[in-house]
Amino acid sequence: MASPETLQKLKERFPEAEISEFRGQHRAVVPAGIVHDVLKFLKEDVGLALIIDITCVDYLYYPNAKDRFGVVYIVGHPETAERMIIKTFVNDPAPTLPTVTDLWEGANWLEREVWDMFGIRFEGHPDLRRILLPEDFEDHPLRKDYPLQGRGERHNIPVVTRDLG
């Protein structure tokens, strides 16, 4: 739920943002080029200074979807219940977005998880390594074209035998 003033300010500053509402939640879809500016504006001028979540949805098999990945930023007000969902779309090949770690320290791990699971690069991220999966893992498993049971990674782990000698 975002306050009417916030929505008004956002509309004035970024006319290209498409604002919609569902079950009392306000969402703004913005082009990937200005997502950093929008978040900076929300943080510094509106006061939505709390980064709650950064996540991604792979729309590969979604009905009537035009773009592949939707990256979702959820920001909130540290004192009131106000929140806002900012969404942007990126596409193959090499989906890339600017990092928001310069705005929020807390975005660091959240962006690393999105890179790990979806393979979306964040330009300017100080430490973009895999976070949950092993470093030599090659796929991004939450993409929709990755099978539930994996691509045989688990069966190829070398067996370390106990050396009794």
């Binding site: 739920m1 569902f22 079950r23 939640q25 969402r27 200074a49 709390l50 980064i51 709650i52 979540d53 996540t55 949805v57 792979d58 979604y62 009905p63 009537n64 979702v72 959820i74 540290p78 004192e79 009131t80 219940a81 929140r83 969902i85 929020w104 320290e105 807390g106 975005a107 660091n108 791990w109 959240l110 998880e113 699971m117 390594r129 895999r130 976070i131 949950l132 999966l133 092993p134 470093e135 030599d136 498993p141 939450l142 990755y146 539930l148 990674e153 190829n156 782990i157 070398p158």
Partner: protein, 406 residues
């Protein structure tokens, strides 16, 4: 996939060769769970820390795309396994928000009761662990005793002590039996004394204060900048509590306080958790004494929750609804929409971002785990403290690795 040399930690500065690198975990009793810390030490002082997580990663979010909305509740039990009831409530609240239904008042009250009992259990375990790691073993035993009573209540409510899976879309698995209500009343009566005992044991204990006061300080600005929520943020002076700010379920009916502290150190986090248990107890007491009568599931005409057995065998609507929900090619209608719904879980804001695509399975169900955000704080909090403070800071953050890695 051949084994290769790890690149997780490469010493960067040759000039600091006198520094020790110490591996803490992944299997170390003081981590309580499976996580690994790579500490850079100068003598006993921690210069830097790197967190290596993912040992318990089991693809819960991928599984959510292959299990239906009722089946996935069993997976949420395994996220924060110290307070599974709170996760159950959070998951089905999010699903109900997506579907646009509201559960009956009795169900709301019962969900509040179980969520608050889970909060007490979680805080007991967290504070007990901090106590244990700093040498207070008796306190640990005192804290685990009332936790056992809570598990007895859960057993009376749903038959399971640990992995409860108590909620369903549009209601609960069972209504609370008179026996369960009696157990809750007894717990409300007995718990304040146990809490008093615990406070007398530890709150003014000299050793405990020396080990926790001024350790791992998090300021209010940093807490906001790093997305911290829950008791850790409240110990730093952030007054955000979703139960008050955006009252979900029946929280607006109850009289309770938000517990805050200013210091932001391990001791303040301990105090906030202790105080929150008393407030939770107040909520439980009000809820159990004013428990409204009525059904615990939405009406049969909504076609969301499975009807009771007597409705299936004696009414045609019940029979049809049962059939419609059980047949694999039927089920309830889910809109092609996305929704984010958060609850105040014991650890902080636990939210689910659900994308529905009309099928009985979630297209994507992202879990916003509080432990993940809080563990990212760890290197920042431990820098400059000694090795023995690692366990105090780790304990006070209440990291649950299953929720951290999902």
């Amino acid at each position: 996939m051949p084994l290769e040399k790890s690149t997780t930690y490469i010493p960067k500065d040759d000039a600091q060769e006198y520094l020790w690198t110490m591996n803490f975990g992944p299997q170390h009793p003081a981590t309580h769970t499976t996580l690994r810390l790579i500490l850079k030490l100068e003598g006993e002082r921690v210069v830097d820390a790197d967190c290596d997580i993912g040992y318990l990663h089991s693809g819960f979010e991928k599984l959510a795309e292959h299990l239906n909305y009722n089946q996935y509740v069993t997976i949420t039990d395994r996220m924060n396994y110290v307070s599974p009831m709170a996760n159950n409530v959070a998951w089905h609240l999010a699903v109900e928000k997506l579907l646009g239904i509201e559960v009956p008042p009795r169900c709301q009250y019962l969900r509040v009761i179980v969520a608050e009992l889970a909060r007490i259990a979680d805080h007991l375990v967290c504070n007990a662990a901090v106590g244990l790691d700093t040498g207070a073993f008796t306190f640990f035993m005192y804290a685990f005793n009332p936790r056992e009573l809570i598990y007895d209540i859960f057993e009376a409510l749903c038959g399971a002590r640990f992995t409860n899976s108590y909620t369903r879309v549009g209601g609960l698995m069972y209504d609370a039996s008179p026996k369960a209500i009696e157990l809750i009343r007894e717990f409300v009566k007995r718990f304040p004394r146990a809490l008093d005992d615990m406070e007398r044991l530890l709150t003014r204990n000299r050793i405990f204060i020396d080990r926790t006061k001024g350790i791992g300080v998090l300021t209010k600005e940093e807490a906001i900048n790093r997305g911290v929520t829950g008791p850790i943020a409240r110990a730093s002076g952030v007054t955000r509590d979703l139960r008050k700010d955006e009252p979900y379920l029946a929280y607006k009916d109850f009289d309770f306080q938000i517990c805050c502290a200013q210091a932001g150190d391990c001791y303040a986090r301990y105090l906030v958790r202790m105080a929150e248990m008393r407030e939770s107890l107040k909520i439980i007491q009000q809820a159990v004494e004013n428990l409204p009568p009525g059904p615990v599931k939405v009406a049969v005409s909504e076609r969301i929750a499975l009807p009771e057995k007597w409705q299936v065998s004696s009414t045609i609507e019940g029979l049809i609804t049962h059939f419609e929900l059980i047949m694999s090619n039927r089920g309830f209608e889910v809109p092609c929409e996305e929704v984010y719904c958060a609850t105040e879980s014991p650890n902080g804001e636990l939210g689910f971002y659900i994308v529905g695509d009309g099928s009985p399975y979630a297209y994507r169900a992202r879990c916003r785990p509080p432990s993940f955000v809080h563990f990212a704080l760890f290197p920042h909090l431990i820098r400059g403290h000694t090795l023995s403070d690692v366990v105090a800071v780790l304990g006070s953050l209440n990291i649950i690795a299953a929720e951290l890695d999902r």
